[in-house]
Structures are given as C-alpha cells and as structure tokens.
C-alpha cells in the first residue's frame, strides 16, 4: 500500500510502524492516497494556537480566547478542552469548568495576518482555494501533480509541515473525493490530523455517523429525521431520493446523495464580493473627531485602492463605529453613482462620522462600500461638478506615483491626525488594521 512519512515526506512501503528514515510514527497510508485531490484544511484551535505561539509561557496552560465582545469563548486550546470548555460557551461557564484558564482578548488583526500567510501558501499550491473563514479552507488540487512533481496528498503533508515549522501553528487536513467528505475528514483526527477518505470506503465510513453531519441538516431537520427513526447516515443510504424529497422537501435529494458520499459542489475560489471595507481597532479608545478623521482618510484610501485593484466600484458608503462599551453604530449614505475614489468615499463618510462624534469613545472605526458595480460605471462626469473629473485625475496621478515609488511616496496631510502621533499611511500594513472582503450570505 502506497504511503509516506508526514514528518520527513519519505516514501514508506510495507507495513512498517515507523518511518525507516526519521523514525516518526506519523505515517500516512491509503490505497487511494495519490488519487484524491479535494482537501479541507482547518487550523487547530486557531486563535489560541496563535496566542501560544507568541507567548511560549502559555504552552502548557489552558488558554481561552474570547471575552470582550459578547463574553463568550471564541476559541480554546486543547488543554482547556480537556476540562470541557467549548467555543461559543459563555465565559463564566468556561471559567467555572476551568478556573485556571488564561483568558486572552481576541486580537483579530493578528489572526488576519496569520491567516493571510497560511492562505498564501495554499494559493501557491493551487488557485482553487475557497476560504470558509480565517481558519479553514477548501482546496482543489486536481491536475497539479505534474506541476508539483508530487501528488496532492504529499503536497498537503508538506504544507502542514511547513506551516507548523515556519508560521508556528498546526493544521488538520481532510483529503477526499469531494468537499463534504473532506470537511468530515479534517475533523476526525484533530489536532495535527491528516485523514484520507477514499471512494471505496465511503459507505461504511458514513454509515454510523450522525445525520447532522450532512451539510444542511440543522436542528429542525435533525429532529424531524429522528422522529422518523433516522439518526445515522446509514439509514438514508439506498433510500429513493424521490421519496426523501416528497417527505423532506428539496433537501431530500441532498440527503440521498450525501448519504452515499456524493457531493458535486465545486471548490469556488473567488466568491463575488458584496462589499469592500477597511476597519481599525484602536489600541486606546478615541473620541476626538480630528483623530478619527485622519484614520478615516487612510481607510478610505485603503478601500479605494482595493476597489481599483479589483476593477470594482461601490455606490453605498457605510461607516461603522464600535464604542468602548461594544455597541456598534453603522451609518450609510448612498451616492448617485458608484465610486472608486478615496476622495469621494471620504467626503461621503465624513459627515456621517461628524454626527457620531458626540463625546462617545470609540474602540473601532471602519468604512466600506457596498452595492458594487463594475469599474467602468464609476465616477461618471457630472454636469454640476466639473471638479469631479479633476479630483479623479489627481487621485489617479497619486496612484501612479505610488505604484512606482511605493505607498509612502505621496501622503495627504489629512492622513496625519492633528496633535496625535502620526501613524503609518494607509496601505502599509499597519498592524492594527485589517481589510475584509466579505462574501455573500450564501457563504456555507
């Protein structure tokens, strides 16, 4: 049976218990190992792992990332999980189970940064990467074997090893004929897992698993199935899809197909963006309009740059503020025409910000555009605003200079807050700013 060592990637034949080259017991063997190409990669206890990476003193302590925002556990490390702590659990309950846990407030900017590094490595293997969130993604490695001179399984093992060595976090991988099975696979052997589900064993593999593992089976359908005596996927196998559809509606077809491991959903790399935004969580809460204004300008530039890069424009400008007590205020204004200019985004958001500067202290400011349109509809000439054309031309000239000499080559004065310390310009990777390109609501 074909196989290799997950630590040194050496081929392993026969039934040896350890790698003959490095002695590692982490051997991967499967009859279909080199024939499968759809993978699901899930970072292990992502936020907690990043925090442990950055503070080795936490390595052997139970770590809970969360609190703050809604007082629930975002992520907990595997040590905390041994005490029964789970994500989405209220913080007081988690601390009752595990009083010695170290609680860390989430630092989203840092996780976004790490996530980007991991995803960049995925994209180096295949363009077909479909991120589901910061810490998980589907990959389709079909047809890459010749390019990489290695099968998808070996490339994935190498990715897991490199991410662990060079980025400092661990991942679990599911490799299977399709997305449904790949996602189930990555769950099975966490952390540092690598599970291969081949076509030959699909039916037996699924038979004993709960029906709730089928994508789309939520609480209501699970209860309805249970009322009909169906709790295991095996009970759905070989049922007539038409009968299942008659009984459970359109999802009946999926129940029938998924129960025998058939899933024809493709790995979709780029979901159409619904909005483009930039937001910043501050190190200290800010109430002053002047300081917020400077941050807003840098964010507007950031959004504009990404719109231009993606050949998009946006019609609705939304300002988002989060107060020190975590209340979110969002205010929007719709433009007569889509824009991709930082100047227009800033001018539209500024009055919205001004109104909200009523002495409230804010911990987060963000600006984004939605209602996206193609770039060629952006910023049409306006009868009443001949200056518009000039402003657009000025901004494109600045873009051209920056493209040549770097983002810091030209800065607008308004990017520096009066009295406050000057922050790096938008576009340089300011550590506390992160960008989001949100997918549609049909994400999963």
């Amino acid at each position: 049976m074909t196989g290799f060592c997950r630590d040194c990637l050496t081929d392993v034949d026969g039934a040896a218990g350890r790698c003959p080259a490095c002695g590692s017991p982490r051997l991967l063997r499967h009859p279909e190992l080199d024939d499968l190409s759809i993978a699901h990669i899930d970072c292990d206890a992502f936020y907690a792992t990043v925090e442990k990476r950055d503070d080795p003193g936490l390595a052997d302590k139970p770590v809970i990332v969360g609190g703050g925002r809604r007082g629930v556990v975002s992520t907990c490390c595997y040590i905390a999980r041994m005490s029964g702590v789970r994500s989405a659990m209220p913080m007081f309950k988690a601390l009752a189970l595990c009083p010695q846990a170290v609680v860390i407030r989430p630092n989203m900017a840092k996780y976004v940064e790490v996530s980007r590094l991991v995803q960049a490595r995925m994209r180096a293997m295949t363009p077909l990467v479909e991120p589901l969130s910061l810490d998980e993604a589907f990959l389709d490695l079909g047809g890459t074997a010749r390019l990489h001179q290695a099968s998808p399984a070996r490339m994935l093992a190498r990715l897991a090893r490199d991410v662990e060595r060079e980025i400092g976090i661990t991942v679990s991988i599911g490799l299977a004929p399709n997305k449904f099975l790949a996602k189930l696979g990555s769950e099975i052997d966490k952390p540092r897992g690598f599970t291969v589900i081949g076509r030959a064993e699909v039916r037996t593999f699924l038979a004993d698993r709960p029906v709730s593992e089928i994508w789309g089976v939520g609480k209501v359908l699970r209860e309805k199935l249970a009322a009909d005596g169906i709790t295991r996927i095996g009970q759905l196998q070989d049922r007539d899809p038409l009968q299942l559809m008659a009984r459970y509606g359109a999802i009946g077809d999926r129940l029938a197909r998924f129960s025998i491991g058939e899933d024809d959903r493709r790995v979709q790399p780029e979901r159409e963006a619904k909005n483009v935004s930039s937001e910043t969580t501050f190190d200290e809460d800010i109430a002053e309009f002047d300081r917020l204004k400077a941050i807003l300008w840098r964010q507007a530039e950031n959004v504009a740059r990404r719109l231009k890069k993606a050949d998009l424009s946006g019609t609705t400008v939304t300002l988002k503020l989060k107060s020190a007590d975590f209340r979110i205020r969002s205010r929007a204004a719709t433009l007569p025409d889509p824009t991709q200019l930082a100047e227009t985004i800033y001018r539209t958001a500024l009055p919205l910000l001004k109104v909200e500067c009523d002495g409230t202290r804010y911990r987060l400011l963000g600006v984004g555009v939605s209602n996206l349109a193609p770039a060629d509809l952006a910023d049409p000439p306006n009868l009443l605003d001949p200056e518009m054309g000039r402003r657009a031309a000025a901004e494109r000239a600045i873009d051209a200079v920056r493209a040549k000499f770097g983002d810091a080559a030209i800065l607008k004065g308004r990017g520096f807050s009066s009295g406050g310390r000057a922050k790096p310009p938008a576009g340089s990777s300011s550590p506390s700013s992160h960008n989001r390109r949100n997918p549609g609501p049909d994400r999963r």
Partner: protein, 372 residues
C-alpha cells in the same frame, strides 16, 4: 357635525388629499385628514407639515363642525362603498367618533380633535400671478423626470421655478437636473411674476400638484414668498414649503458651442433605443450611438446577455462620432418630445449633448454622455 354627500364626490376629493398623508407616521395626527363642514361645503385637509392640500366639495350640511379621522382608513372605506351611494357623516363629539353610514354599512372611526391638526401658515406671499393649467402641466411634465433623488444635494430635489429672459423675452422657467441630465422648459412670464425670487419646489409637491391640476378647469393662481408657495384652482388650495437652498447656476451647464447637428425622427429613434437597450446591463443601461454621415447605429452589449444593434437614417453631416448614453435618460427625454423630430447638438464623446424638440422651442435638454 352632520352631513350627506355623494360617494363619487367624496372619493374624488379624498383621492386628492390622501396621498399627501405619509403611510408611516410617528405623530398620530399626521395620519389624519381634517374634515370640516360649513354651509353646503365640506373641506378636506391633509398635511405632512411640508405640504398641505385643501379640497372643497359640495355637501348637504345639516350641522356644521369639524374633526380629523385616519386618512387612509377613511379613504379605503369610501372606496369600498358601492358606486352611487349617498354617505352620511355624523360626528359624535362626546364619543369622539365619526359615524359613516351608507345603505346598510355603518362604520365608527376614532377621531382626533381638530384643534390638534397642524395648520400651515403661509405668511406674506408677495409675488402673485396666474398661469393656465395647461402651461403649468407642461412646465412640470417636461422637467420633473430630471429631478434628483440624491439627498446630499438636497437643492436638486425639486423643480427650480424662476423668471428669466430668452432672447429678450421675459419667461417663467422650470429647470430640474440630477447632474446626469438637465431639463428646462419655459412659458411667457405671467404679469405679476416679474421680480419673483427663484424658488425650488420639492418633488413631492410637484407630484401632488401635477395630479391635482390634471382636472383643473380654471387657471392656477400662484402666490409665493422665499419660503412658501401656494397654488389655488377650482376648489383646491395647495400650500408647500420650498427647498431652502441655492439652485446651481445651470446656464453654465448648457453647451453653447456644440457644432455637430443631428436630426432624427423622434418616435423611431425612441423605439430603436428601447429595443437595443433590452440587452444593456441593468446597472449601466448604456447604449452606444455611432454617428456617420446620414445614419445612426445604436448598439448595446452585455457580457452576460449578448448584443444588439440597430441602424436608423438621420440627418447628420458631422463626421464619424461614437458616443454613449444611459438609455433610460434618452427615453425620458424623447418621451417628452412632441414634434416629429429630435434635434441633437453634439461636441464629442465626453461633452454634454444638447437635445431639443423641433416642435417645441420652449423645451431644452442637456445630457451627459457615458463612457462606452
């Protein structure tokens, strides 16, 4: 208060005023219409605080009086009563209820006191003149499609009505623009309007006025100040606030030196634009006009749907030019052209184009091209 009135008359009158009342109101009295019976007359008043409409109709009044009732409910009741019915309205002051009886139907509506109903004071209206209903309709029809809905430039959310001179002749002019297109229409300046301040009439007022004036049998008496305007005709009085802002200097926007002249049959042009635009994308609605001596080629492409092309003969000798327009804007303008011929004056693919109606000197349109 007690009176009898014919259903059709009441329905028509309520129809006039009820659309002023906003469907959603936080202040309960603003959901109501005021009904006031005096000698042989019933007066209905509705307001949204920016605009008030009073409509008077004949009624057999037994006992004068006044109250207010929920406008849309009242309207719905009257609408559903059988045609030809006589309606009896009785206000019970003690119960604060209005009884509506017709045939075997009987309704009781809760009322709010007349004293709470906001009265829109007009103040002094120094400029007064009178305008034929047809002339007023034309001023509105030829311009209102270009009113902007953009809230940030609120001063564009209405029709700018002002006195001006065309070739030395004093005119009353209506102008609307949203930055993409501009529409201007004019009529000889009525006596009394000389020296009037330019005013911006809000979109909602324009639309209500246009509805009311449709059946007008008399001239419309217009009185205005810097802040208010009043229209009086037949039994209707409409009072509105004006938009407090400065309308931009639109004359600068009207191109003077466009030298390429195009004349095309307005109807076949509009139909061709409409057909070709079927293909253009929902978002852009762009239609490309390729001009060549003697003909126009209209085309549209959509990456998802495909393409369309149509050729028309036209009177044109300005040489090759390709220019794009928003098809909806083109159709808005051609829809207002009454003569056989639409006249375009173009400069180049990036400059504003002037459109005129060969059959109507008084109307003028400016259209900004799109990049195609």
């Amino acid at each position: 208060m007690k009176l009898r009135i014919e259903r059709a008359a009441l329905l028509a009158s309520l129809g006039h005023v009820q659309s002023v009342v906003e469907r959603r109101n936080t202040i309960p009295i603003l959901s109501n219409v005021q009904i006031e019976a005096s000698e042989a007359m019933l007066a209905l008043t509705a307001t949204d605080l920016d605009l008030a409409v009073v409509d008077k109709i004949m009624a057999t009044v037994e006992r004068p009086g006044a109250t207010t009732v929920p406008a849309h409910t009242f309207y719905d009741i009257v609408r559903k009563l059988p045609d030809g019915a006589e309606i009896e309205l009785t206000y019970d002051q003690a119960q604060r209820r209005l009884a509506i009886r017709a045939g075997r139907s009987s309704f009781q509506l809760s009322c709010l006191p007349k004293e709470d109903f906001p009265v829109m004071a007009t103040g002094d209206l120094p400029h007064q003149f009178s305008l034929g209903a047809e002339a007023l309709k034309r001023l509105i029809d030829k311009t209102r499609f270009a009113i902007s809905t953009e809230e940030t430039r609120y001063y564009l959310n209405g029709i700018y009505l002002h006195a001006a001179a065309t070739a030395g002749v004093p005119m009353l002019r209506a102008v609307a623009t949203d930055g993409h297109r501009l529409a201007r229409s004019e009529t000889p300046l009525p006596s009394g309007a000389a020296g009037m301040t330019g005013v911006i009439i809000p979109r909602k007022t324009v639309n209500e006025l246009r509805k009311l004036v449709d059946g007008a049998e008399t001239d419309v008496a217009i009185a205005l100040s810097d802040t208010k305007i009043r229209f009086t005709f037949d039994q209707v009085v409409l009072v509105s606030k004006l938009i407090d802002g400065t309308f931009p200097d639109y004359e600068r926007v009207i191109p003077q030196g466009n030298d390429k002249q195009l004349e095309v049959d307005a109807k076949s042009f509009a139909q061709a634009v409409d057909r070709v635009a079927t293909i253009s994308t929902e978002k852009s609605r762009a239609v490309k006009m390729a001009l060549d001596n003697g003909r126009i080629t209209l085309s549209a492409t959509s990456p998802d749907q495909g393409s369309a092309i149509e050729e028309l003969t036209a009177s044109y000798a300005g040489g090759g030019l390709e220019i794009g327009f928003n098809s909806k804007y083109l159709l808005d303008i051609t829809g207002q052209i009454e003569g056989d011929t639409a006249q375009f004056r173009l400069a180049d693919a990036a400059s504003p184009t002037l459109v005129r109606d060969a059959g109507d000197e008084s109307a003028l349109y400016v259209l900004m091209p799109m990049r195609v």
